[in-house]
């Protein structure tokens, strides 16, 4: 399945080499891949994260589906 993955702020440069694109890149993943699997695959730093799937907050245990958009932020705020 294909999933768009977007990484932001301090995570911006942590896409896998060889996967083309900018902030948002399309990854071919095995069915049943969870968000936690993606975090491991990308070797994201061990810190709190803000995670959206298709614009809604998601847990790391959630399985991804074909065509979804996964966005991962480090802790950020402003105003």
């Amino acid at each position: 399945m294909d999933v768009d993955i977007a990484l932001f702020a301090s995570l911006s440069d942590l896409h896998m080499p060889g996967v083309p694109g900018g902030r948002t890149r399309t990854y071919s993943l095995a069915d049943g891949t969870t968000i936690a699997d993606v975090i491991g695959m990308l070797d994201l730093p061990d810190q709190p994260r803000i995670i959206f799937v298709d614009g809604r907050h998601a847990e790391e245990s959630a399985e991804l589906l074909d065509g979804q958009r996964l966005a991962i932020f480090p802790p950020v705020a402003g105003g």
Binding site: I50, H57, P75, A77, G79
Partner: protein, 591 residues
């Protein structure tokens, strides 16, 4: 002992007063709201002689408190018709605090309505009022330069200045406060307080704190111990210690767009295709490429350091930030995806002395009328300059989003209590919708920043797309914010305070060690409640009712893409938010 400085613009006199005994715990917003409540007839003309304009550092202003140098500016608002506290960074609060001034209360109105004056407060507490008619119509940057030329070369001072929008009595006019480099780029922007300053003929205030050290504490050792704990918490929390210093406030553009909560093209959708081009990440890259500064404080003693300077393509200073709210108002809300265009609009607003949130929102409403295309950044600049240059939309743009909507027949006008909504759509961030609707300030994100818990997972987790829990969240945040505003804190300290219990305890300990009076944790929250009592009762007496605590109808009827959702918190539930007011007021003896 700190004192009040009363400036009577009718007689051009300045007198010192003791702080009333009942107000000894009041600084910042608590003091400005107490003064307005006590001294301003609720139905007074905001631009008449009976309004007052109050400038107050927080209780901890003038001390070494980390992020404790914010300034509260209060009056009856010509925009909302209710009480207003507009909060700003910059150097003025610390300067006032170091001199020993708890607040400056400006009253009356000069007999000569064409006269302009400058109030100077020297480091020894002496004052004078000078006529500065030659500055009529001058922008904030020109006035700041003129003041610099008048001061001794080795002086250390802060400025509070009013641009031409304030002189002209525009309802979106703000008041500029100088930053650490002397740029007049920090703003008490919201609610038209520049118009109040203009009505009093006051063009500028200069406050020198040359040679003055930080204010002494009742218990220096205890204060310093608490201060170190608080500072550590600010540095330890990932938001205040890493995210904000690295990317600034505009780090929010991408995340709000991702969450479907970034109001785009006058609140018609919640995601902006130009978010990446206007994001904090992109802003940092461009600023660094051009040699701009990407990390400094808006006032001395700031640990978080989320300010930055935007420079043009030749590397010359243009403006601060731009901050997230401005990037949103002139960016996504107007459909503009060019940071240079947004920075030019920000600079122009800054020089005119006009609120970027209100004016950007007003510009988006104007675009919604079909008179100017969404996304036309160059056209937006021409439209902005039409406020003084003439043409459309002209002066009405300076009176805010509602005025523009009425003038050009737009049905979708995003205001509460006549003040424009900031950069979060209440349909997909329902907690902030409750704050917008119920705040004593009109639509104001800073009054109770539920975005933190709805979107950013700070201070817990309340689903932004559901109505449950939003009223309680907003109530607690509004009370806590009123407390922080009164002590003089930047509201960004709330991020670590919400997550690190000892940070809150450290605030208590600093307040106690500085004032030498016993405080308790409940007492801190009681302070926040008392502030809201002053404000709520003032607004009620000014004629506001439950009908004023409502979002515009379209937020309840028009579904917002991409979540296709409407605002669902009920009126009945929102009407319980201020249930604590009667009992608290009774305890204050003002029911």
């Amino acid at each position: 002992m700190k004192y009040l400085l009363r400036v009577d613009m009718s007689n051009l006199t300045v007198t010192k007063e003791d702080v009333p005994e009942a107000w000894v715990r009041y600084g910042g917003r608590a003091l400005t709201s107490a003064v307005v409540f006590k001294e301003v007839p609720p139905t007074a003309d905001p631009l008449g002689p009976d309004n007052v304009l109050v400038f107050a550092p927080g209780t901890l202003g003038g001390t070494t408190t980390p992020n404790g140098g914010r300034l509260s500016v209060g009056a009856k608002s010509p925009l909302t018709g209710g009480i207003k506290e507009s909060n700003s960074g910059g150097q003025a609060a610390h300067a006032l605090g170091r001199i020993g001034i708890a607040g400056v209360i400006v009253t009356g109105k000069p007999a000569d309505s064409d006269a302009l004056y400058m109030l100077t407060i020297e480091a020894d507490g002496s004052t004078k009022i000078d006529r500065v008619d030659q500055w009529k119509g001058a922008g904030n940057y020109a006035v700041a330069d003129a003041i610099k030329g008048m001061r001794p070369a080795d002086d250390r001072y802060a400025t509070i200045t009013n641009g031409p929008a304030g002189e002209a009595g525009m309802k979106a006019a703000g008041i500029a406060i100088s930053d650490m480099k002397g740029y007049p780029n920090r703003f008490a922007g919201r609610g038209g307080l520049g118009a109040v300053m203009g009505s009093k003929g006051l063009k500028a205030i200069v406050i020198s704190d040359k040679g003055l050290s930080y204010t002494e504490h009742a218990d220096k050792e205890a204060f310093n111990a608490a201060m170190r704990r608080f500072s550590s918490a600010l540095k330890e929390h990932p938001v205040s210690g890493q995210g904000l210093p690295t990317y600034g406030t505009n780090i929010l553009t991408n995340i709000l767009s991702e969450a479907g909560g970034l109001p785009t093209r006058n609140f018609s959708t919640g995601s902006f295709e130009g978010a990446e081009a206007t994001s904090g990440e992109r802003q940092r890259e461009v600023t660094l490429e051009r040699g701009g500064n990407v990390q400094h404080g808006c006032h001395t003693g700031c640990v978080i350091q989320c300010s930055r300077y935007w420079v043009d393509k030749d590397g010359h200073y243009k403006t601060k930030g731009p901050e997230y709210e401005t990037v949103w108002s002139f960016g996504a809300d107007c459909g503009i995806d060019d940071l240079d265009d947004i920075a030019e609009l920000d600079r122009t607003c800054g020089d005119m002395g006009i609120d970027t949130i209100e004016t950007g929102a007003a510009m988006a409403v104007y675009m919604d009328s079909g008179k100017l295309a969404f996304g036309d950044g160059k056209g937006a600049l021409v439209a902005l300059k039409s406020i003084f240059a003439g043409g459309e939309p002209g002066r009405v743009l300076g009176d805010g989003a509602e005025a523009v909507g009425k003038a050009f027949g737009v049905s979708r006008i995003p205001v509460v209590k006549h003040q424009a909504l900031p950069a979060y759509d209440p349909r997909s961030v329902m907690g902030i919708g409750v704050t917008y609707a119920t705040s004593t300030m009109g639509a104001d994100h800073t009054a109770g920043y539920a975005v933190a818990t709805n979107i950013l997972k700070v201070g817990g987790d309340v689903d932004p797309l559901k109505p449950e829990g939003q009223v309680e969240l907003s109530r607690n945040l509004q009370i806590a914010t009123a407390m922080l505003d009164s002590l003089g804190f930047c509201i960004f300290v709330a991020f670590p305070v919400l997550d690190i219990p000892d940070a809150f305890t450290a605030i208590h300990d600093m307040a106690e060690a500085h004032t030498g009076q016993p405080w308790d944790v409940d007492g801190l929250m009681q302070l926040g409640k008392e502030v809201l009592v002053f404000e709520r009762l003032f607004n009620e007496r000014a004629g506001m009712t439950a009908d004023d605590d409502r979002l515009p109808e379209f937020f309840k009827t028009d579904e917002l893409p991409p979540h296709n959702i409407v605002f669902e918190v009920t009126d009945a539930e929102m009407d319980t938010l201020y249930d604590f007011v009667p009992e608290t007021a009774k305890g204050m003896g003002i029911s």
